[in-house]
Symmetry: C2
């Protein structure tokens, strides 16, 4: 099949762009390349740039589309050799092969195919049931990509092609809270600790109380968790430290009221809790499109993930959705990142059928 | 009295040298100045230099002297204005006024006076009951000053003029142990902490056990203490840290067997204890010279201090001793460091009498 060949060929071309955030001109270059591809297809699109981060939005003039495919071209850092894609034993290796360039290629090839189809029926891009959003900063938070670009989109359902697996549709992801704990004490000479108040000791005492709020443990771990990520305190060996700070990476679920929890915890401790970042959870919601997908793809089930993705921005724009994708043995961000080629084909076929059914009048 | 005037005059001259360790040429310059003073007195002395740290040793040819006075010319850092001595309300202000330049001046003026006296009796320096050691690195550990120079000295009794007060002779100071605790864990993504082992958590668990060994608290605090000085751990907010290290400033007494304690503690924890520095305590011992001093100075009592000084090196050279000095309202190292001038005079008079009695044949 021509489309399948093009899928892998195009993914390889995309992998060759070293589109890391340490190399922003390569992210821009990759976006330029995609613009060229879209022009060749005769697709209407918009290039958006927020604080230097490029996004590409393929939508009808109205700005409304029933289904939105979302993927990203930026990748995490990697050595040069990872940007030279290698096919081996049915897998395509390379930085971004799985996260998330196969998905960009899949979206583009699917768009091209469906554009050709509607044109054969003397219709146009506005008759497509889907649009595409390709962003450039998922790996650095999505604030100038998905978060901003979704303001330009009206859609019923979004498929974020950036997680899960062919057999697992992700319908929720935990929210993220970065919390700082600050303890203050009183300096004194280290030989006379009783004259001071040790800020590290106070921080540890506080932490002992905080951690009681994160003791739940179930086999699926669908509950809030806290990771004691970073601590820095003390300047000099012979001094009682008068300042200590620690950072916690907290992940929460739809069952948590974090504002309330922070208030409760603050009431129990001596130090100060400071919210550094609070990101919503992704909670996809019920949708007939999800039902349709599960109907087409009999072996696929719904599930959840612990990490966060750009899908967390959907709710604030009133868009329901899922996170879904090809299989790659959980190798994203690793040295041997790869995507299983057959799973890309399978995903393509399912989405192709899904779009065909969704595009039919009265569907 | 001439000697009293010279005492303060000379202390002021010494204060004007910015003899901080950030400014080593001023330490050298101050030592050069003292050499000049000794030459003017016609005293025999040796200039020692270990790793660029100057010490000056005034001893008879034999290398033996009953009593050694010890003081230091180096000072802790301070702004320029602190090196401009100011006399006010009976106090002499300035960096080093109390710690420890009045003591250098006192030792020199006392030496000069006693040299003149013995010469009147047609005797010489070898008939003096005391010598003087002036060092240049007490504030940075004393390793190239007192520790090395004391190898060149045979003495019965040392008066380290660097602590205590006119009414308090220090006969013991705690030992110092710098201990590092290292914890190792297993990295994982911060969203899935259950897949990792948090090195900070492990360190805190260990610390909870370690601190049970430092819970004793008496009014005089003459027991071992531990200060949790420094902790550094964690690189990235979204990662489970796989390494954590902490430093403890431990002070111990003659009642502690630290090697045994470290072994016991190591047996209770998961991490590794590493001894960074271990310094002996100062334990002056019984001496007829101490009895004589207490006899001369009726209002003076013996006591102890929690900090460490160069006096800790005496024991390894078989020298008994005390730490003693003028009063300065505990202002050493502070912005308003000062010495109470009357207390310098009192100390001088006591030491003058002490040396006269000690110098008499058959004393």
């Amino acid at each position: 099949m021509i489309a399948m060949e093009e899928l892998i060929h195009l993914t390889k071309k995309l992998i060759r762009f070293k589109s890391m955030h340490s190399n922003p001109q390569e992210i821009t270059g990759c976006a330029d390349f995609i613009e060229g591809y879209l022009r060749d297809c005769g697709a209407n699109y918009r290039r958006l740039d927020y604080h230097g981060v490029p996004s590409i939005l393929v939508l009808p003039q109205s700005g409304f589309v029933p289904i939105l495919l979302m993927a990203h071209i930026d990748v995490v850092d990697g050595p040069d050799e990872l940007f030279d894609p290698v096919e081996k034993n049915g897998k395509l290796y390379g930085r971004g092969s799985l996260d998330d360039k196969y998905a960009v290629a899949l979206s583009l090839v699917l768009l091209k195919g469906h554009l050709e189809n509607v044109r054969k029926q003397n219709k146009g891009q506005e008759d497509l049931p889907f649009g595409v959003l390709i962003t450039g900063d998922e790996e650095s938070g999505g604030f100038n990509g998905a978060k901003r670009s979704l303001q330009e989109v009206k859609a019923d359902f979004c498929i974020a092609l950036d997680g899960g697996g062919v057999h697992k549709i992700v319908v929720k992801e935990k929210g993220l809270l970065k919390l700082k704990l600050v303890s203050k004490g009183k300096a004194a000479h280290g030989a006379r600790p009783w004259l001071g108040e040790n800020a590290i000791e106070k921080l540890i005492e506080d932490y002992m109380k905080l951690r009681t709020y994160f003791e739940q443990s179930t086999p699926d771990h669908w509950h809030r968790t806290s990771n004691f990520s970073v601590i820095h305190a003390g300047k000099s060996l012979n001094q009682v430290p008068d300042y200590a700070e620690a950072f916690f990476d907290i992940r929460y679920t739809e069952n948590d009221n974090m504002d309330e929890l922070i208030e409760t915890m603050q009431g129990k401790i001596q130090g100060d809790l400071v919210v550094e970042t609070k990101e919503p959870l992704f909670f996809g919601g019920e949708s007939p499109y999800l039902d349709l997908l599960l109907d087409i793809s009999k072996n696929t089930e719904v599930g959840f993930e612990h990490g966060a993705s750009d899908a967390r921005f959907l709710a604030e724009h009133g868009i329901k959705g899922i996170v879904w994708g090809a299989d790659g043995d959980q190798t994203q961000h690793s040295q041997d990142e790869h995507v299983n080629i057959e799973s890309v084909y399978t995903l393509y076929r399912i989405l192709d059928e899904f779009m065909k059914i969704s595009g039919k009048p009265g569907s």
